[in-house]
């Protein structure tokens, strides 16, 4: 971090004529020691941390009938989401969910800036949890800086060791939970207890644990600053009506030291007492008073701490606050600001988003509980069967997407006197498919020889689930040779 030096946004325009110097473009990262905060936004951040983490750590343990409620079984290529079972063929839903997620992010960003970053992004959330552990063991900012500067001692080793132990334990639990989304978590737990973990499971638990440990313990804000793509393109979604954390420069400047005892000369001095607490609490180590910066994750920590300072000083709150560029520059009040939430960009995002959500939900609802694929036998053109029937052979792949054994009745239409036959079907022309399995069913379509002219005739297979009465039709062709 080099912007720590003199924040001088209004310095001379150019520096022509100065001496040429060599500057290094790679620098060692400086460690940031965020000070802990409290207040309205901090409370909300913790609420979000609890919600997201209760979800993450809790959901894999929920059982649904005979299985885990949420399970992404990559090996069997089945995704179980409560009573929904998705197959690779349902990838379109995943695409839909991803597009909806991206659009929601656009929408929230346009309205409220980096809401996601500050409150729910796993990177922030885990950093916050790790920071909390760190603060519990090593103490708050000042104590941590002191400890880091102190020479090696038994106390230092104990504190540092304790912290890393707690971090690693937590990180491993995270890795375990993560893998628990892909293999049944209870079996996974048993496997760990009995030392029977598979090589890939071990790898992924360790890998994900390591990633958590590294990202939340060490990389922290650097991920947001250097790695996160969202941080880079979000400026395209910001406008002057986007909620951002801002410092009210008009009110704060010129800043200067003030104490409770000496009265402030309002004509000479702004409300900012230059206590630098807002810089100390910032998890990305920036000074919000320099204006909107790409590093700011919009967490509101600086707003919270500054409010407590203002309270102590007996000044109005809101020197640092969530506001918009317009509101700050034009001196709008709350209602004026809120009135500008609904602007074309927001309305367009919201419209597209709701259309997508509705489409996705409807198509999920209309989704049949089985799928049918038809492949016409290529090796066998057409043949004469007993009784002078002309027949074509097909394979019907029936995928039972339910979790119970299902019976399906086969039917076909499209040509006069069309008959469907299958050796594996019973007298009702029904076949059985095991739960969540797919089965190839060889079928024959027959017509009396000579009843239609030669060539290719469109036919339709109709497969009916006898239990639910759902019907799926698939097109194919019936070939009549010359």
């Amino acid at each position: 971090m080099s912007s720590k030096k003199n924040p001088n946004a209004k310095s001379d325009v150019a520096n022509a004529g100065s001496e040429a110097t060599v500057i290094n473009l790679y620098a060692a990262a400086e460690k940031i020691y965020p000070r802990s905060t409290f207040g309205f936004f901090t409370k909300w951040r913790w609420v979000m941390i609890w919600l997201t983490q209760l979800f993450f750590y809790g959901v894999p343990w929920i059982e649904w009938g005979q299985r885990q409620a949420l399970l992404f079984d990559l090996e069997a290529r089945r995704f179980y989401i409560f009573n929904l079972v998705l197959y690779p063929q349902d990838l379109i839903y995943l695409t839909g969910i991803l597009i909806i997620s991206a659009l929601s992010l656009f929408l929230f960003t346009a309205i409220a800036g980096r809401l996601w970053c500050g409150y729910t992004c796993p990177q922030t959330v885990y950093t916050e949890i790790f920071l909390w552990i760190e603060a519990k063991i090593e103490g708050d900012r000042a104590a941590r800086i002191r400890l880091d500067d102190a020479p090696l001692s038994a106390r230092k080793i104990l504190k540092k060791g304790g912290k890393h132990f707690a971090w690693i334990a937590f990180a491993l639990w995270t890795g375990f939970t993560f893998v628990g989304y892909f293999t049944p978590i209870r079996e996974l737990g048993d496997a760990i207890v009995n030392m029977g973990l598979g090589p890939w499971q071990t790898f992924w638990i360790l890998f994900y644990g390591f990633a958590t440990y590294g990202n939340a313990g060490f990389m922290r804000e650097q991920v947001c600053k250097y790695m996160c793509p969202y941080a880079r393109f979000q400026s395209a979604m910001f406008d002057d009506d986007t909620l951002i954390v801002t410092y009210d420069e008009k009110r704060g400047e010129p800043r200067g030291k003030a104490s409770l005892k000496t009265d402030m000369d309002k004509s000479k001095q702004g409300a900012c007492i230059d206590c630098s607490l807002c810089v100390q609490v910032c998890p990305t180590g920036i000074d919000i008073r320099k204006g909107l910066q790409y590093e700011c994750i919009g967490c509101g920590a600086c707003a919270d701490i500054c409010d407590t300072v203002m309270d102590k000083m007996g000044y109005d709150r809101g020197l640092v606050k969530y506001s918009t560029q317009h509101a700050i520059n034009l001196g709008w009040n709350h209602t004026q600001m809120l009135r500008h939430i609904l602007r074309p960009r927001v309305l367009i995002y919201a419209t597209i988003l709701s259309v997508l959500v509705v489409t996705l939900l409807t198509s999920l609802m209309l989704r049949t509980s089985f799928r049918v694929d038809v492949v016409r036998d290529r090796g066998v053109m057409a043949r004469i069967a007993e009784g002078g029937m002309l027949e074509n052979v097909y394979r019907l792949q029936i995928m039972n997407a339910t979790e119970t054994t299902q019976r399906y009745q086969l039917g076909a239409s499209g040509v006069a006197n069309l008959k469907i036959e299958s050796d594996v079907a019973d007298h009702d022309k029904t076949v059985t498919v095991n739960p969540a399995e797919s089965r190839w069913i060889p079928v024959r379509l027959q017509i009396p020889d000579g009843s239609i002219k030669s060539g290719s005739h469109p036919v339709k297979f109709e497969v009916r689930a006898t239990e639910s009465n759902e019907i799926v039709s698939e097109k194919s062709v019936f070939l009549v040779p010359r």
């Binding site: 912007s3 030096k5 150019a14 022509a16 004529g17 500057i23 290094n24 473009l25 250097y226 090796g379």
Partner: protein
Amino acid sequence: MSDFTSSFWPIFITVISVGGVIGCALLLWLTSKIKATSPNGDNTNGHVWDENLREMNNPLPRWWVWMFIITIAFSLFYFAAYPAIGTYAGKLGWTQVNQYEQEMEAANKTIAPLYAKFAAMPIDQLAANPEAKAIGERIFMNNCAQCHGSDAHGSRGFPNLTDKDWIHGGSPEKIAETLTNGRVGMMPPMAAAVGSEDDVKNVANYVLSLSNSSHDATRAAAGKEKFAVCAACHGADGTGNQAIGAPNLADNIWLHGAGEEAIIKRINEGKVNQMPAQGAKFSPEQIHVLTAYVWGLSNNEVK
């Protein structure tokens, strides 16, 4: 890796891969420091555009540079170990083929116990075992259905496997033998032996009469005598001989087409028909499972 058609391609690949890595390293090194007109302490690096747009110097963190260096080191290791540069095979001797073979071996090992269980079961039991049936069905669908049809009913030139009419025998042993070694069906051209065109026509009608198919009775009676040359293989009564793969002519099943015309054609031209051997493709245990499946197609009364 000698399968390049010209020496240009290995060189092309080498230049791109090695050149790419060297280029990255150079870029990394050259951009580590820049010479700029004195930054005046405001964290700009001295570049000015469009009157007053200035470039900030926000240095890349050093750890990230290390990641690039590690990546470069990894590429060099990769070049040495794997076939990445032209015709050089790499120290580890990795090829797609041996990876495939390894994976196949591993997969076969995991299913070995299942097949061992199947191998110990007699065919009739195996044919009724749903698990074996499903596996057999899959093997059949992927390997046999191209000729015999997905429903195994065959078509012209490809026997129907679901009826009781077997050219080479329908016992489990015979089926396994057919699967393993394949079969060659040989019907020699018989026109010369049978006689004149008229004789051929007579014999064809006699053949049709054997299965009570529609035929010309007088011609059939005339052909009966000439059928003697056919009887050598197909038997005096035309019921065929499974030992030499001579089809039964007395049932109404026609491998190469029914009717007088088709039969005349066979007598005149003969026919060589081939079932390819599958022994090299499948293990004996797999053949066993497949045999049970095929056998079960026509022995499925006990359902």
